[in-house]
Amino acid sequence: MQTAITILLDGLVFSSYLFIVSVGLTVIFGVMKILNVTHGSFYAWGAYAAAFLIGVAFDAGWPDWLGFVAIFAAAIAVGLVLGLILERGILRFMYHRDEVLIVLATFGTFLVLEDVILLVFGVDPYFAYQPMMLLGASEIGGVSRDNYSLSLIALALVVALVCWLGLVKTRWGKILRAVIFDREMAESMGINVTMVYIVTFVIGAMLGALGGAYISPTVSVAPGFGIDVIVLSFAVVVIGGMGSIPGAIIGALAVGLSRALAVHEAPQLELFVIYAVMAVVLVFRPEGLFAPAKPRKI
């Protein structure tokens, strides 16, 4: 029982992390049909910005809770600045190009942004552990757990709820769904698709940056921070279905829970299990669990 509770909690924590880092990727793909490799940069920049701001707050002797403000401020600032620059500066010139070219453009941008991180923040890692230490630890199921990681579950629930409410219950959500369904038709009905694209990309960038910013107190934020997360995020959105938010939730849960099970019961399979889940899903549902199968346009 103790092991089962621990596996469940570990799985939920890791799933929450996966959902937060992949939901931005799936939002951008769902609306704009762009496979955005730069997502890893949003994640890394969010982490660096948050770690930097937390360091500033801590060095200045400000109250510890401001570390949490710094995390969200960093995510918003990075998403706003990088999202706007990339969408207005690069992507808007490429919307009518082949999808592969757009992927290559985002990949090139990712590499450039990785080097800009080195120029701005240097090669030394940033440590911003104060928010994690502030929340302390709890004993659950006989195992000590850091409350900060548990708070990831709450954050993931809030992000999922806001996304769902935003899409289903608001006027903006209806507009977004109209653009997702048929961009040209939406445009002919007077929807400002350009503005929809800008807002979507900035929100996606903020979500990517939030993933990095929130995780930064638990890790050593170092160069190369955003590379692995791209692969993990792709695995999650491919399992769930590209562009589907419920798919991202299910994909994150599938990966997170199966990985936790592997770590506890067969640790040597830890690396294998994530991609095994993806492979099995792709064999039976190549479009992912939640993306509807579409006839191909010829």
Partner: protein
């Protein structure tokens, strides 16, 4: 009278020849490529400090400012012309960049490499291109145990020494430890480290049993919440880890919050790289290794070379040197010893083959100990290896180590001609531990 003329003529000719040869050595430069992680997760704790160690020692060699026995300037009198190259990008890029250094940019000698993956991928390419290359840090024993090498040298001991010394230390200081578990990165370095520690424990400690929950996270994974839960649930008394780079520091942060360092004994073979960087955030009680006589373990070693290095490094970079600066400096000192010896024997600037012949099987003084090129047919170094227990010294404002114990090189590494696994499994025959 004719004899006098001949004598004067001969002396004059010899003097001119000597002057000419000295002039050749002074004018000549050795193009050295120094490779380490300058970007990516390995840069902060390993690559950049390693590069700094190389930079400091090269500047001192060129200026002739090192204490004896390295007080003559240059390599056999030739100044070092250095370029620094980034190791990050994966094995394919590392091999391609090595070919560029040697074939396009004309490096005379290559020094460096942190990752065991880099070294394993490069070793056959080095011998193919026949370029003298000194591996500075990487630790997998496979480099010289799986094949004879001609142009590759490694100036520090390999992972077997780290992990057999760890097993000796556990046996000596924590005799109650019988069950142990590990968390190691899932590639050559992590796998070799765990294998040698596990075999070492079984060979040295009666009743030693490994857990079946040994963790194998991916290199640079960063998130260890689930692994820490599994380790906490396991009934092993001791956790072994060869984590390095940002992974080491992330694991320490995440583990500290969850109390793993209070609930278990944690032995970290490379924790020395984190000691100065984390300062008071470094948990007390970690069984800390530095892969040999380096960094925090030899902070108080008062040999002239070590005293000079510690102070010069602190003056230049504002922090005390961890393991990688020592290890890169040691590689270059080994090269200098070989060049100088070969130069003396040749009576002028030596060829690459002469340097290799001088390097092979040599013994040289390093910053805090003696290095013997005793394994791998004279290409692989052995050094003493030791551990200590971390303790934060509030007065000094830095991490220190207590209960430091070093084991002789011949105690923790196999004798020449024997591979590590057979040696440990066979009960470490021939080990000289006293």
């Amino acid at each position: 009278m004719n004899h006098v003329k001949w004598l004067i003529g001969g002396l004059a000719a010899s003097a001119m020849a000597l002057a000419a040869s000295a002039g050749v050595a002074q004018d000549k430069t050795v193009k050295m490529s120094v490779v380490s992680f300058l970007s990516g997760p390995g840069a902060g704790p390993f690559g950049v400090p390693g590069r700094n160690g190389a930079e400091l020692i090269i500047a001192a060699i060129n200026a002739g400012q090192l204490p004896a026995p390295y007080d003559k300037p240059g390599l056999a009198g030739a100044m070092i012309d250095v370029e620094y190259v980034d190791e990050s990008g994966g094995n394919t890029k590392v091999v391609a960049e090595y070919r560029n250094m040697v074939q396009k940019r004309g490096a005379d000698v290559v020094v460096g490499y942190v990752s065991s993956g880099s070294c394993a991928a490069l070793a056959p390419v080095i011998d193919e291109l026949k370029k003298l290359t000194v591996l500075a840090v990487c630790g997998t024993p496979r480099i010289f145990e799986e094949s004879d090498r001609t142009h590759v040298f490694r100036t520090m001991g390999h992972a077997t020494g780290d992990n057999v010394a760890a097993a000796h230390y556990v046996k000596e200081k924590f005799p109650d430890v019988k069950k142990y578990v590990g968390i190691n990165q899932n590639y050559a370095w992590g796998q070799d480290s765990w294998r040698d520690f596990d075999l070492g424990m079984k060979a040295l400690v009666e009743g030693a049993t490994p857990s079946d929950k040994v963790q194998w996270p991916k290199l640079f994974q960063g998130q260890y919440g689930t692994e820490i839960s599994a380790l906490l649930l396991d009934d092993a008394q001791l956790i072994h880890s060869s984590f390095w780079d940002g992974d080491l520091e992330s694991f320490i942060f995440q583990g500290t919050t969850r109390g793993i360092f209070q609930k278990k004994k944690v032995l970290m073979t490379v924790a020395g790289t984190a000691a100065y960087r984390l300062g008071k955030r470094m948990p007390e009680g970690i069984i800390l290794g530095a892969r040999g006589p380096y960094g925090v373990l030899v902070r108080d070693n008062d040999s002239p070379l070590n005293s000079w290095f510690v102070q010069a490094y602190f003056d230049r970079y504002g922090t005390y040197p961890s393991g990688p600066p020592y290890q890169y400096a040691q590689a270059i000192l080994g090269l200098k010893a070989a060049y100088d010896k070969a130069g003396e024997a040749a009576g002028g600037f030596p060829t690459q083959d002469q340097v290799i012949a001088a390097f092979k099987g040599s013994t040289f003084e390093s910053l805090a100990g003696t290095v013997k090129m005793a394994l791998g047919n004279g290409h692989q170094a052995i050094t003493e290896n030791g551990y200590g227990i971390t303790k934060y010294d509030a007065d000094k404002g830095e991490v220190t180590v207590t209960d430091v114990k070093f084991y002789p090189a011949e105690c923790v590494l196999p004798p020449a001609g024997t591979d590590s696994v057979s040696w440990i499994e066979g009960g470490m025959k021939g080990a000289k531990c006293n």
